[in-house]
């Protein structure tokens, strides 16, 4: 109904209006409730900046997200339910081998110029392993048929929490504690087969925000940068 009543007869350029600063970077959002043009387009724009060695915490969202890497490079982990865990390397090159590598790979290298598509409800995280900041801009397609909630962009964080005061600053976008916090500690401990102490610890809100600093850097398997470069060169224009 809203889209039908949209006329787009007065447009203006806008920048993000809210900023949630965490120890490892920031998430900037545009309050769509105040912007008729974005409401009409049915999308919520956002910008995320990660400092070197920063980890943007795992989350899933109610909308499909289309992102573009403005600067920097890093690793993107996308967790599809039922797929093999973490990164599986393959020495095969080209043909079938290349295809199977793409299907099973859970950690992808992203860098400036890459466009990334993430479906709704699929958990993902981002890590800046470069020596400069990593910045992405994205739209959350709130009017997409995959979103069956309201037209608000809703990230469901699996860890961390928004710093104090961020909830109010985020305007229409609701970001608070991680979803594990919502479960009874005893239930969580039993479900995960862990001690109550560990369960309590993972529920804790460190108030360090949505992007955390990784002191000694993450060591994890994944496609090395030089392989990635060769891949790009081979793809050509």
């Amino acid at each position: 109904q809203l889209q039908q009543s949209c006329r787009f007869d007065r447009l203006n350029a806008q920048e993000p209006t809210q900023r949630i600063t965490s120890e490892g970077g920031s998430v900037e959002l545009l309050n769509v409730e105040d912007s008729e043009q974005f409401q009409c387009a049915g999308v919520a724009p956002l910008r995320e900046t990660l400092n070197p060695n920063a980890l943007s915490l795992p989350r899933y969202t109610n909308t499909p997200t289309m992102a573009y890497v403005v600067e920097g490079e890093g690793r993107l982990g996308v967790v599809f339910p039922g797929c093999p865990e973490t990164f599986q390397s393959s020495t095969s090159r080209g043909g079938e081998g290349q295809q199977s590598q793409e299907r099973s790979q859970k950690i992808r290298r992203v860098r400036r110029g890459d466009v990334v598509a993430i479906p709704a409800g699929v958990a993902y995280w981002l890590y800046n392993d470069g020596n400069r900041r990593l910045q992405i801009v994205a739209i959350a397609d709130t009017s997409n048929h995959q979103n069956q909630l309201d037209q608000t962009y809703r990230p469901f964080y699996l860890a961390g929490s928004a710093p104090s005061g961020a909830q109010k600053a985020a305007g229409a976008t609701s970001i608070g504690d991680n979803i594990l916090q919502g479960f009874d500690t005893d239930t969580l401990a039993e479900a995960m087969g862990i001690s109550q102490d560990t369960a309590r610890r993972i529920q804790q809100n460190q108030k360090k925000g949505l992007i955390v600093k990784v002191e000694r850097g993450l060591r994890m398997p994944g496609p090395p940068s030089d392989d990635y470069e060769r891949e790009r060169e081979r793809e050509g224009n």
Binding site: L55, L57, P58, Y60, N62, G77, V79, P81, C83, T86, F87, K106, I107, A120, G121, A123, W125, Y127, Q146, N147, Q148, L149, R154, P155, F156, Y157, L158, A159, G160, S161, Q167, S174, I175, G176, D177, N178, I179, L180, Q181, G182, F183, D184, T187, L188, E190, A191, M192, G193, I194, S195, T198, R201, I202, Q206, V212, V214, L218, R219, M220, P221
Partner: protein, 185 residues
């Protein structure tokens, strides 16, 4: 052609058939999903269903679905917790036979059967509902590198390993552990 297509369309699929179960756990229960692969007519309806049976004190692992679900308890009773995106519990209570409950899309849910078990049917607003879990064989945490889990939760390697692996041989249905034999519902 349209008449032929609709007139001969299969419209029935039995969700109680234990041999058709997608998940079966001894002492835990079973889960039968009815999606567009099992019943192609659901493609046009864009709806699906899940039939769940939990044995006494068994648990349905914390998880979320890519669609809304409307659950109806057909037998027994249990405790259900539903958490929304800000980490706030929007439902925490006992459910019993005859009750409906809406589980909004992507909201995390955990179920624990009471002493008589818990049986339900859920109707989903997707013909191919996909469930992500926080524990078990297909846990999203297990699918992340250990270092990501360690840094995300600020825990040591052992705790991260426990978190990712302690229930790795289990599925969405968790049989009761010895220390959790008593129902809390």
């Amino acid at each position: 052609n349209v008449e032929e297509f609709y007139c001969s369309m299969r419209l029935r699929h039995n969700a109680d058939d234990s041999e058709d179960a997608d998940v079966y756990v001894r002492n835990g229960g079973r889960l039968n999903t009815v999606n567009r692969l099992k019943l192609p007519a659901l493609r046009s309806l864009r709806l699906g269903a899940e039939r769940g049976i939990l044995q006494p004190n068994a648990m349905f692992a914390p998880s979320w679905l890519n669609a809304h679900a409307v659950m109806y308890v057909t037998r027994g009773q249990g405790r259900i917790q539903i958490v929304q995106n800000e980490g706030r519990r929007v439902f925490d209570g006992a459910v019993k036979e005859g009750q409906f409950l809406v589980i909004p899309q992507l909201h995390a849910i955990a179920k624990q059967a009471g002493k008589d078990g818990l049986e339900w049917i859920s109707f989903t607003t997707s013909d191919s509902p996909i469930r992500s879990t926080l524990t078990g064989r297909n846990s999203v945490l297990k699918a992340m590198p250990q270092e990501v889990v360690m840094n995300a939760y600020r825990i040591n390697g052992k705790d991260a390993r426990d978190l990712r692996r302690n229930r790795e041989h289990e599925t969405i249905i968790l049989s009761p552990t010895p220390q959790h034999q008593q129902p809390r519902a």
